[in-house]
């Protein structure tokens, strides 16, 4: 799985949780401010990431994630995907 595929999956997860327009989900988009992701959406997103990528997403990892790109970075790091 490459970075683009990870991004598309992350985008799919986010769009299933919040009412954002697909175009709004860019790597630079801020989860809370731009996409209106709330704290419970974050937990649901973490659980969905765990299911879809078979990785572990601890709470302290969620705490430092601010943008869509951060989510992709985190997943890629877990999967050891290189740019």
């Amino acid at each position: 799985m490459d970075r683009t595929e990870v991004f598309e999956k992350v985008k799919g997860i986010l769009l299933s949780k919040v009412a954002a327009a697909p175009d709004a989900v860019t790597p630079e988009a801020r989860l809370k401010e731009d996409l209106e992701v709330d704290s419970l959406d974050m937990v649901e997103m973490a659980m969905a990431l765990e299911d879809q990528f078979s990785i572990s997403v601890p709470d302290d990892a969620i705490a430092v994630i601010l943008t869509v790109g951060d989510v992709v970075d985190f997943v890629c790091e877990c999967l050891s995907v290189r740019d």
Binding site: D38, S39, L40, M47, I62
Partner: protein, 359 residues
């Protein structure tokens, strides 16, 4: 022998506290609370109400609906995380007030309490210790929340509900109960107040005015400074635990009975947060309509939430003869539990004082 729920009753406080009223007191809004929890209002026990008065109302309604009297009851099990007092068990006072007989006890298993109490009562009936039992879930959580903490105080409400249990043949009534606990999560939902340690800090206690005792007899000394008495909760961790536990418990219940979760007609979950239920439904691949929710009007009433929702579901005809019903709970401890029931009509038989079936 198994046991079945013969009737249900409830006792809810008169006073309703709506989110709009909280807007005036806290830095929050009705919409913020509603979107994140599903709660619009909750009942709050007034000065003249407590667990005992609400529980007695619930028990008397359940008795009336079953056409029974207190003397027909041989066991009372009360689940509560917010008992009115330390000693004696509230179940004993309820027994005395109702004119019931036999053993009576309280237990605390957090918000899973009603399911634990159901299992205890079912076991006592199977042991022949009683023929009929009242199982009560009762809470006055609004008395142990910090009203300065907008993250927790908006979540909880007060109320009581009771189920009258009687023996029945195997394969009917309560088909299966599963229970669990994970004590390493004991700090996720926590309230230190009201216990013996805190009592020591009060006037007359070993760290309070009677601290002179401790000077004379050092092992009596108690350090009680810094006890935060109210409910604290790590919301994100609890959310995740709740969703995962609900899914796992339903799967375990159904597997044990060689059933598919899809065959369950109605799930009555602990009403902690509608978002938890929505997330769990999605993960289980079950339609949300199959989950009974009344959290909008009551908030999280802990041990009382499952029987309050079940009573309402029965009263509003959301349950039919032969329906497969799953009760799912999770809470402080951490604890969890589930019960699979085969619903028998008449579980919520008429209440003469309410006119017919008491709708």
């Amino acid at each position: 022998m198994s046991a079945a729920i013969v009737s249900l009753g409830r006792g809810i406080p008169r006073h309703i506290l709506h989110n709009r009223q909280l807007e005036e007191l806290l830095d929050t809004t009705h919409l913020w609370i509603k979107e994140r929890t599903g709660i619009a209002e909750r009942r709050v026990a007034g000065p003249d109400e407590d667990n005992l008065s609400l529980s007695l109302e619930a028990c008397r309604q359940a008795l009336r609906r079953a056409g029974m009297k207190g003397g027909d009851i041989g066991l009372i099990v009360v689940a509560s995380a917010t008992p009115d007092r330390l000693v004696p068990a509230m179940a004993c006072t309820i027994q005395g007030e109702l004119g019931a007989r036999g053993p009576a006890l309280d237990l605390n298993a957090g918000c899973s309490g009603f399911l634990y109490a159901l299992a205890v009562a079912k076991g006592f009936l199977a042991e022949g210790l009683a023929e009929r039992a009242l199982v009560v879930g009762t809470e006055t959580l609004t008395r142990i929340v910090d009203w300065r903490d907008r993250a927790t105080c908006v979540l909880f409400g007060d109320g009581a509900a009771a189920a009258l249990l009687a023996g029945c043949p195997e394969g009917e009534g309560i088909l299966r109960v599963v229970l669990g606990a994970e004590g390493r999560g004991d700090g996720l939902i926590h309230a230190a107040g009201g216990g013996a340690r805190m009592m020591a800090s009060l006037r007359g206690g070993l760290a309070g005015e009677a601290g002179a005792f401790a000077e004379a007899i050092p092992f009596l000394g108690m350090e009680c400074d810094g006890i935060y008495p109210f409910v604290r909760m790590q919301g994100r961790k609890v959310f995740r635990f709740a969703v995962e536990t609900m899914c796992a418990t339903l799967r375990e219940l159904c597997a044990a009975e060689s059933l598919s979760p899809r065959e369950v007609d109605l799930v009555v979950p602990h009403q902690a947060n509608s978002r938890i239920v929505e997330a769990a439904a999605e993960r289980m691949g079950l339609p949300l309509q199959r989950f009974y929710l009344n959290i909008e009007r009551y908030g999280n009433t802990s041990s009382a939430s499952i029987p309050l929702a079940l009573e309402e579901a029965a009263r509003r005809n959301a349950l039919r003869e032969g329906d497969l019903v799953a009760l799912l709970g999770f809470g402080a401890g951490l604890t969890w539990g589930g019960a699979l029931l085969r619903w028998a009509d008449g579980c919520d038989g008429g209440d003469p004082e309410e006119g017919g079936r008491g709708r």
